[in-house]
């Protein structure tokens, strides 16, 4: 018998636990024809802000050992254009659409965005990107991200919770001393689930030109290089919170996806791997199914957090 792959995140029912991570899948249209989009558990959009954003100057990405740095700076068309131009295309796939949102200013923008999305039936869930490391730079370098402050995380989640009935996912930053503390704050604020991790702030220098390889000097590190950190953080947070965790960070194949599930993730997101192999997420869905059959596990939920320790 075919094992059960479907899971529930908040009020959101997913036919399988494999999603594509925000910022690595555009708004879906670029991948059309390269994979069977319909098979995905969910699509998390590139983060949108209330107003259009031009993003950071180039170069915006560079390759690093077993990973890459990016500092796109949340380039996006803004809420209005997203709703009229991007959402209808995404919706045609029939896959639940999780809209990633970020604020250029304070908490109010998160509230306005969430309220604006709440009335749309095409939106399955909202992911609060309170952890993008690439919109603070230059002379504001010492400014904190919301996800680096437990109280700010709590207040933001709470304020958004008030205006939306959609499943609310909060995306956490690994650039903190204790991620569990932030995770608990998000849970307390009313988040239905947690996404972890966002990228790790990193830097790479071209020794020939003595310039940073990323125009704004620092960027977010992703790819297999960050996976052990991500798995550890999922495991730490899993022990502390009751809400489901969506694990991500360098998932390239079935084995790496399973690491996260064993550590406590209810679902996983494929990110950088989409750039390397657009079919990665689809291959992982098949791979997880195969693993469950081979190990005679009838339900994916029995695997979550089943780490032997």
């Amino acid at each position: 018998m075919s094992p059960r792959l479907n899971i529930k995140i908040g009020r959101l029912e997913l036919k399988n636990p494999v999603m594509v991570a925000s910022g690595t899948f555009g708004y879906g249209e670029e991948f059309k024809g390269l994979l069977d989009l319909k098979k995905l558990g969910a699509i998390v959009t590139k983060t949108i802000t209330l107003n259009p954003r031009q993003g950071n100057p180039a170069p915006r990405t560079c390759e690093t050992p077993a990973g890459m740095l990016n500092s796109i700076g949340l380039e996006n068309p803004g809420l209005e254009k997203f709703i009229t131009e991007k959402l209808p295309v995404l919706n045609k796939t029939g896959v639940p659409v999780i809209v990633s949102i970020a604020s250029e200013g304070g908490r109010e923008e998160f509230v306005e965005l969430a309220a604006g999305l709440d009335r749309l039936k095409e939106v399955a869930a909202v992911e609060l990107n309170i952890s993008c490391p690439n919109i603070i730079h230059g002379n504001k370098a010492r400014a904190k991200l919301i996800a680096q402050d437990a109280q700010a995380t709590y207040e933001t989640v709470k304020a958004v919770r008030k205006v939306t009935r959609k499943t609310l996912i909060t995306k956490l930053s690994p650039n903190v001393t204790d991620i569990s503390e932030i995770a608990l704050a998000a849970e307390r604020g009313g988040s239905d689930a947690l996404s972890l991790i966002n990228t790790l702030v990193g830097m790479s220098i071209d020794v020939k030109t003595r310039k940073p390889k990323i125009a704004v000097a620092t960027g977010g590190l992703s790819g297999p290089a960050v996976r052990p950190i991500a798995v550890r953080m999922v495991w730490e947070v899993y022990k502390q919170v009751k809400i489901p965790i969506i694990g991500m960070g360098g998932i390239m194949d079935t084995a790496s996806a399973l690491e996260f599930i064993l550590a406590g993730a209810s679902a996983i997101s494929v990110g950088t791997a989409n750039f390397v192999n657009p079919k990665a997420a689809i291959e992982i869905i098949a791979g997880i199914k195969e693993y469950l059959i081979k190990n005679k596990i009838s339900d994916i939920r029995r695997l979550i957090g089943s780490l032997k320790i």
Binding site: T24, G26, G33, L34, P59, P65, A66, G67, M68, N70
Partner: protein, 307 residues
């Protein structure tokens, strides 16, 4: 244009000179739809080092095969140069928007897409292909397609300027000559052809009064004997196609503006996804940031903001 991911068999792989290599890939699905100026992205090895795919201009394509001309510049290209025929590479393509030119009808019929701007401007006009170093890669494919246009009355209508650091790095001279193109060479150190930048050579050719330094338009009646080959007004019917390093393309953009000659330039950029998803490979244009991999790699010279 349908973008495909395929396992392409390596038909041949060889060093041609210095650090330059050619690899031929059997990929009928991608080759059949490829247009000059488009590129493919290749996963060179299955492991994490290097992690990302590498973009390569299509140097040549027929119905079954793609040819890539590349220089070994880093780890990815070094590993590629060691690949043996018979092995397979994971290839995505054809990617991006290529050069705009009037395409032969028979070619157009076999393909679903049409060029972005089918202006017909290039029809009987003079075409100048300017290559800087490795930038020659997409221009041979373009020249091959240009010479088989029904309207290309005289093949000498195409002038190819090849710029390189020194004579050891001058590529594809024979291939362009075989097509019937007029070829002029410049090298930075003067070891072959004109000494200086290829864009300086272009400027001289555009401003000279001596038709012998220019190719012969009198043959097909465009110009009378002794007539100045190009000036600002006549220049309108000329199109420049260029590919090379950024400073060279900046110079091309200035020339395009100064002499009022439309120019199409192919940009090179590091890419992470090469399909328009990551927003990494952007370039500043008059209409804001555009993705080199998706809106490009070929742009009109006057839309790019160089700094």
């Amino acid at each position: 244009m349908k973008i495909l991911q395929c396992k392409a068999k390596i038909v041949s792989s060889r060093r041609i000179q210095g650090d330059y290599y050619k690899i031929v890939l059997a990929s009928p699905e991608i080759a059949a739809g490829a247009l000059p100026g488009q590129f493919i992205s290749v996963k060179i090895d299955g492991d994490y080092q290097p992690l990302l795919r590498r973009p390569f201009s299509i140097h040549r394509a027929n119905k079954r095969e793609l040819e890539i001309l590349y220089a070994v510049v880093g780890e990815g290209t070094r590993l590629l140069s060691q690949k043996k025929p018979g092995k397979h590479l994971d290839v995505i393509g054809p990617l991006g928007n290529g050069f705009d030119y009037e395409r032969p009808l028979d070619v157009a019929r076999g393909r679903r897409s049409t060029p972005r701007r089918c202006s017909g401007q290039a029809n009987d006009g003079r075409l100048i292909l300017v290559a800087g170093g490795m930038g020659v890669a997409p221009l041979l494919f373009l020249a091959e397609q240009l010479v088989c246009r029904p309207s290309s009355v005289v093949r000498k209508n195409i002038l190819v300027l090849l710029g390189a650091k020194n004579k050891k790095e001058v590529l594809c001279v024979k291939e362009f000559k075989k097509l019937g193109c007029e070829v002029k060479i410049s090298t930075d150190n003067g070891s072959m052809g004109f000494k200086g930048k290829v864009t300086d050579l272009l400027k001289i050719l555009l401003t000279t009064n001596d038709p012998s330094t220019w190719f012969d338009f009198a043959h097909h009646g465009s110009l009378g004997a002794g007539e100045r080959p190009l000036d600002v007004t006549r220049g309108r019917r000329t199109t420049i196609y260029a590919c090379g390093p950024r400073p060279m393309l900046r110079a091309i953009s200035h020339i395009s503006l100064k002499y009022n000659i439309p120019a199409q330039i192919s940009l090179e950029e590091h890419m992470s996804c090469a399909i328009g998803a990551c927003m990494g490979c952007v370039v500043g244009t008059l209409q804001g940031f555009k993705r080199v991999c998706k809106e490009g790699p070929v742009f009109a010279a006057d839309e790019i903001i160089f700094w």
